[in-house]
């Protein structure tokens, strides 16, 4: 029986194989593609569970399996796999959520003409994501990181014939690539100063040796810079301010994609990476940056979500906001809380997205909440599960997982010694979150249907509702893994026993914080219901109550605070100017100089030609005639008679033999 570290690579490899199968299967073989994708995920899930069992057996131990990738001269690059509780929890989450989303997709994408390709991309995505999780090498992480980016590019642009989808895909890829370049430089910098980019290598990985580094100013600077550069990658991938602009646009992709990539897994990759390299961040001063960026993002996302009308966009901005929370948690040093929130968020956000997908699918691809409405009696399961997800997201106390994880983060932020600003920002975001989710619920499920398609909406079949139900159960139960009274998850992640470590002061402080946040959640829900619940929207075209009250602010929020426009006016403009300049330089300055030289050369050539023709050629012609005459004379010897030649040869032979024998006196 091989230990699970040795078979760890199967977990990403199986979906990769499924992706390959999907790539080569035609539309006629679509069930092969989806079947292999589903079964690969199922097997990976099983393996992940085994890996989790192994990892939990020894928390705090980092099992590694390294191998050389490129080795040339004195230069050496190693890749490797790593198994510890962090990896294992993430693996189980990703494979489980992934499996459910795959299952959901078989129903959602049923009629699509590129069904097989869809599962190819999904599997590729899952493979790369799992690769990030099991990687023990920053390089391997980067490789998978980029492949994740590719997969998300392909999936966002899945309906590539829609220009918006194609543009959104490109935007997503390029925006994340900007962050990735930072990641790449950080990775290279790290490798050149530490000589390794393995996380753990029996005491030689950089996360292990980081504690041995002397805290001199250059070292501190370099390590902080590396941390921030790596965070750049996370900013891009996890949609943090200021690179969050791609995430809402990415909703052009099919809904399962939004659920899988932009809610549960891919965006979490950044958080995971930060958690992974936490010892490095801790060393320098990168954490402060992370905390502020996270806080800003949390607020920004929540604010913008208030004024969006597309159901998926609202959820997208809520994702941005929640990711901000996670980053905030990492920034304030409670990375275990970030991971806890990541796990719970993955489930309830996937649930919300799939619920949205279910709604959209039932409503014939109507996504605008103004056009929906009154779905609660028509789609009971969807409504029930969606409500659970909503309450988890809003942080409705005690029963729902989101409450516990958010609580952990706020708790961490409160105890952060540097500043309390992030904590207060987080509190504001709590209110806003509850508010916009209430708005969403009220608009979608209550009131009366505001479009024709919605009136005839009905519940979807089991492949779509089963994932919803399972996710809803998880969205409730998962919270109990990490309650303050029983911090099992945190203990396993940190690799130490926390049960006895509950400090007196924290217990005292805890309920106070908890009560504050419960009050804030209730506030958000109450305001939301007051505005949207009592007076329900009647028609599609009705202006939002808030819009009437604050038209300027509303318009700014609706346009996402004009971030896209800002970027278009600054970065894109610069870029395009640079391109024009390069082209102009090439065409007119450099090439112009060349043309000038060539004109001079031509002139010289004309002069030269005249000299040649008048003087030199005449002499040569004379000689050539002479030689031709001689040739004519001597060619007469060729009679053209084959027999003649042969006869001469025969006689010649005889003559030679006779002559030789005479000469030799034989």
């Amino acid at each position: 029986m091989p230990s699970s570290i040795d078979i760890l690579w199967f977990i990403p490899a199986l979906p990769l194989l499924a992706a390959f199968i999907g790539a080569i299967s035609t539309q006629r073989m679509r069930s092969v593609a989806s079947g292999s994708a589903l079964s690969a995920m199922a097997v990976s899930f099983g393996l992940s569970c085994i890996a989790l069992k192994d990892a939990l057996a020894a928390p705090g131990v980092h099992q590694v399996n390294n191998f050389s990738w490129v080795s040339v001269g004195t230069f050496n690059l190693q890749l490797g796999f790593l198994l510890d509780p962090l990896t294992a929890f993430m693996l189980v989450m990703v494979t489980f959520v992934g499996f459910l989303i795959f299952l959901f997709s078989t129903g959602y994408m049923k009629g699509d003409e590129n069904y097989a390709k869809f599962f190819c991309y999904l599997s590729l995505f899952a493979a790369a994501m799992l690769g990030i999780l099991v990687s023990n090498s920053l390089l391997l992480t980067f490789i998978c990181w980029e492949v994740v980016g590719l997969a998300s590019y392909l999936l966002i642009g899945f309906w590539f014939f829609k220009p918006e989808a194609a543009a959104a895909a490109k935007k997503a890829f390029i925006t994340t690539r900007i962050g990735d370049l930072g990641f790449l430089i950080g990775l290279i910098w790290l490798h050149s100063i530490s000589g390794t980019q393995l996380f753990y290598n029996n005491g030689e990985g950089f996360l292990e040796t980081i504690n041995l580094v002397e805290a001199t100013a250059p070292a501190l600077f370099a390590i902080s810079a590396i941390g921030i550069l790596l965070f750049c990658g996370a900013i891009g991938k996890s949609g943090q301010f200021p690179l969050h602009v791609w995430l809402p646009d990415a909703m052009e992709g099919p809904t399962p994609v939004s659920a899988l990539i932009h809610a549960a897994t891919m965006v979490a990759a950044g958080v995971f990476l930060m958690a992974r390299v936490f010892p490095l961040l801790e060393f320098g001063s990168a954490l402060t940056v992370v905390a502020y960026i996270g806080a800003i993002t949390a607020l920004l996302g929540a604010v913008i979500a208030v004024a969006q009308n597309d159901i998926k966009r609202i959820l997208a901005f809520s994702t941005v906001s929640q990711l901000g929370y996670m980053m905030l948690a990492i920034g304030v040093g409670v990375w275990e809380a970030a991971i806890f929130h990541l796990l719970t968020h993955a489930f309830f956000k996937a649930l919300l997205f799939l619920g949205a997908g279910s709604v959209i699918h039932a409503a014939h691809h109507e996504q605008d909440i103004r056009a929906l409405g009154g779905l609660a009696p028509r789609m009971k399961i969807t409504f029930a599960t969606f409500s659970i997800g909503m309450m988890a997201l809003a942080g409705v106390p005690f029963l729902f997982s989101g409450f516990w994880s958010k609580e952990a983060i706020l708790h961490g932020a409160h105890t952060w010694s540097v500043s309390h600003i992030p904590f207060y920002i987080g509190l504001v975001a709590v209110v806003l979150t509850a508010f916009y989710m209430t708005r969403l619920m009220a608009n979608v499920f209550f009131g009366k249907p505001r479009s024709h398609a919605v009136e005839h909406a009905h519940e979807n079949n089991w492949v779509m509702t089963l994932p919803l139900t399972l996710l809803a159960i998880c969205a409730i139960l998962l919270g109990f893994l990490g309650t303050p009274a029983f911090p099992w998850l945190q203990a396993k992640l940190l690799g130490k026993d926390l049960s006895g470590a509950l400090e007196f002061g924290k217990i005292f402080e805890g309920p106070g914080l908890m009560i504050t946040s419960i009050v804030l959640v209730a506030l958000g829900l109450g305001i939301g219901w007051a505005i949207y619940g009592f007076r329900k929207r009647e028609r599609f075209g009705d202006a939002d109550p808030l819009e009437k009250r604050f038209p300027g602010l509303w318009s700014a929020l609706e346009h996402r605070l004009y971030f896209d426009e800002l970027y278009a006016a600054t970065i894109l403009k610069t870029n395009s100017l640079l391109a024009s300049f390069s082209d102009w330089l090439d065409r007119w300055i450099v090439d112009g100089a060349v043309q000038l030289v060539s004109k001079l050369g031509t002139l010289l050539g004309f002069i030269n030609r005249d000299i040649d023709e008048q003087c030199l050629n005449a002499g040569f012609n004379e000689t050539a005639e002479e030689i031709r005459g001689i040739g004519n004379t001597y060619s007469k010897a060729q009679s053209g008679d084959v027999h003649g030649y042969l006869r001469v040869m025969a006689w010649g032979f005889v003559a030679i033999v006779i002559l030789v024998s005479i000469a030799l006196n034989i």
């Binding site: 790539a23 050389s68 990738w69 490129v70 080795s71 040339v72 001269g73 004195t74 230069f75 050496n76 390709k117 390089l139 980067f142 490789i143 998978c144 990181w145 980029e146 492949v147 590719l150 642009g157 590539f160 014939f161 220009p163 989808a165 194609a166 543009a167 895909a169 490109k170 890829f173 390029i174 690539r177 900007i178 370049l181 790449l184 430089i185 290279i188 910098w189 490798h191 050149s192 000589g195 870029n575 395009s576 640079l578 391109a579 024009s580 300049f581 390069s582 082209d583 330089l585 090439d586 450099v590 090439d591 060349v594 060539s598 050369g601």
Partner: protein, 534 residues
């Protein structure tokens, strides 16, 4: 137990003449097989076209077959031969064929192979048949194939010759078939492009020739294997050259550099490239970008690096700006192009300048660690190979578009992915390879280059990152405009790839994956050279 490769190695090197006494001159065969093929096709111009194509392909493929054989042998020899680290100037060349022609003048027929050449020979072996297949249906195929084969032979000669005399002959020989190829089969501005290409390159070569004349006058030697031994010893090349005048060593160096820089091309000597690549027929564009541009980088490794290390060290801090200009301006100029071929041509400038960047960084750095230099050099070598694959594949894809629809403007297409999914997939993979997506070949070499350069000259690496970003932007733009979106008029003419075209692209794409996932497989070819120390 003798493995197959051992036997092959023994057979060719004749180390164990007991078993197999027949040892063919493998390198000469590699060089001359395409030339002979080309001459055959030239001599029989009336040959049946199908036969001519097959013959052309056969001779073209001979390089791949024999090159693979040579690679196995080289690996075997480097793998088993004891490496004597004490001998400073141990010849790294294998399978050497050395015949004296005019020994008193130092002109020898001298062929040899090492890690760098084998890489390029293999690249030629892969790309050259691909070019022929890409232009399979071209008019006047006999002449076309003949000229392509001659070009191939000349390029191989450049990669394998170790004596400047012959090397220069091959170097120049590669120009003239290309001239006719562009002029006869090129686009509307072909004549201008052809003249510009030839005159530009000839001009550069003239400087190089002068420089070598000076070297010869100083040392009486032309062998690439001998000249490096003049470095850093008593009565060194520099001292000998300086006898003519104190500026002569630097002038000689610049002369050679100009000759090579035109070929690579280094900014600002690159203006011949976009028009030439754009006007040439697709097979020729592929060959030009994949092989001929490598001749320049190869020569930097073969001539500048071993013979003029000191001058290179002095000049590198300035040259690196030119390389950076090539990288950034190449990428951004590509963004502005509407002609797809010009776009890829500019991307070639961008990619090839990464190679030069690494070389210059390695020499220009004030403090260089061995690991960084190794990474930079192996990155350069790998980048040559990878760029050959991906640029050729992209040119081929554009050729497919042009072949089907007759246009190749950026805005002429849309939604191609819908009508030609296989084409889109293969083209997309080539594009992502060019863009440096991890998992594909381009990433490995770019990573190695950046890794090396960053440690040597961090700011250069950071600036070069702009080039990476620019590449991503224009390639994705290309992809979005051509393959995505609603179907346009021109697109409807496009059909999916024929089996022949899949045969061309398929192996290259597979190779991209293989190198991307298991780069050591290629690195092993030249690893021994770097292991030996520079």
């Amino acid at each position: 137990m003798m493995t197959f490769s051992t036997i092959l190695a023994q057979a060719v090197t004749g180390t164990s003449s007991q078993d197999i006494p027949f040892s063919p001159p493998l390198l000469s065969l590699i060089v001359f097989a395409p030339i002979i093929g080309g001459l055959i096709l030239l001599i029989f111009p009336k040959l049946d076209t199908v036969l001519a194509r097959i013959l052309g392909l056969f001779f073209s493929l001979s390089t791949l077959v024999m090159g693979t054989g040579a690679a196995i042998i080289v690996l075997e020899l480097f793998g088993t031969a004891p490496i004597i680290k004490t001998a400073k100037f141990m010849s790294p060349y294998k399978l050497v064929e050395n015949g004296e022609i005019v020994s008193s003048l130092g002109i020898n027929y001298h062929l040899g192979i090492d890690g760098i050449s084998i890489l390029l020979v293999l690249l030629t072996g892969i790309i050259a048949p691909m070019c022929l297949l890409a232009s399979w249906k071209i008019k006047k195929a006999n002449l076309f194939n003949a000229l392509m084969l001659l070009t191939q032979g000349a390029a191989l000669g450049v990669f394998l010759t170790l004596n400047f005399f012959h090397w220069f002959i091959f170097w120049e020989l590669s120009l003239f078939p290309v001239f006719f190829l562009i002029k006869i089969w090129g686009g509307p501005n072909a004549t201008r492009a052809a003249y510009q290409f030839v005159i530009y390159t000839l001009g550069g070569s003239a400087f190089m020739l002068l420089s070598f004349a000076a070297i010869y006058a100083a040392t009486g030697q032309l062998g690439f294997n001998i000249l490096p031994s003049y470095v850093g010893i008593e009565g060194s090349l520099n001292e000998k050259l300086a006898a003519f005048g104190s500026t002569v060593p630097m002038l000689v160096f610049w002369g050679i550099l100009v000759g090579l820089a035109v070929k690579v091309p280094l900014f600002p000597l690159h203006t011949w490239l976009p028009i030439t690549y754009a006007e040439a027929p697709v097979g020729v564009s592929m060959f030009l970008t994949a092989i001929l541009s490598k001749m320049g980088v190869y020569a930097v490794h073969r001539i500048l690096w071993p013979i003029f290390p000191e001058q290179l060290k002095t000049a590198s801090p300035y040259l690196i700006w030119l390389a950076l200009a090539g990288i950034v301006l190449g990428a951004y100029a590509a963004m502005r192009q509407t002609d797809l071929k010009r776009m890829i041509a500019y991307s070639s400038i961008n990619h090839l300048n990464y190679c030069l960047l690494a070389v210059f960084a390695a020499f220009g750095a004030t403090h260089a660690t061995q690991a960084a230099a190794d990474a930079a050099f192996s990155g350069t070598l790998l980048q040559m190979f990878n760029h050959g694959l991906s640029a050729a594949a992209l040119f081929f894809c554009i050729g497919v578009l042009e072949d089907r629809s007759g246009v190749r403007g950026l805005n002429d297409f849309g939604g191609v992915r819908k009508v030609a999914p296989v084409f889109a997939a293969l083209c997309g993979i080539s594009m992502f390879s060019s863009l440096g997506l991890p998992g594909l070949n381009g990433f490995v070499s770019e990573f190695l280059i950046f890794r090396g350069v960053f440690e040597l000259m961090p700011w250069a690496a950071v600036i070069a990152c702009l080039g990476l970003l620019g590449t991503a932007i224009f390639l994705l733009n290309f992809w979005q405009k051509v393959f995505h979106g609603p179907i346009k008029n021109n697109t409807s003419k496009i059909t999916d790839l024929s089996p022949r075209e899949i045969l061309v692209l398929g192996p290259v794409v597979i190779l991209m994956f293989v190198i991307g996932i298991w780069p050591q497989f290629i690195i092993n070819l030249f690893k021994a050279k770097l292991d030996l120390g520079h």
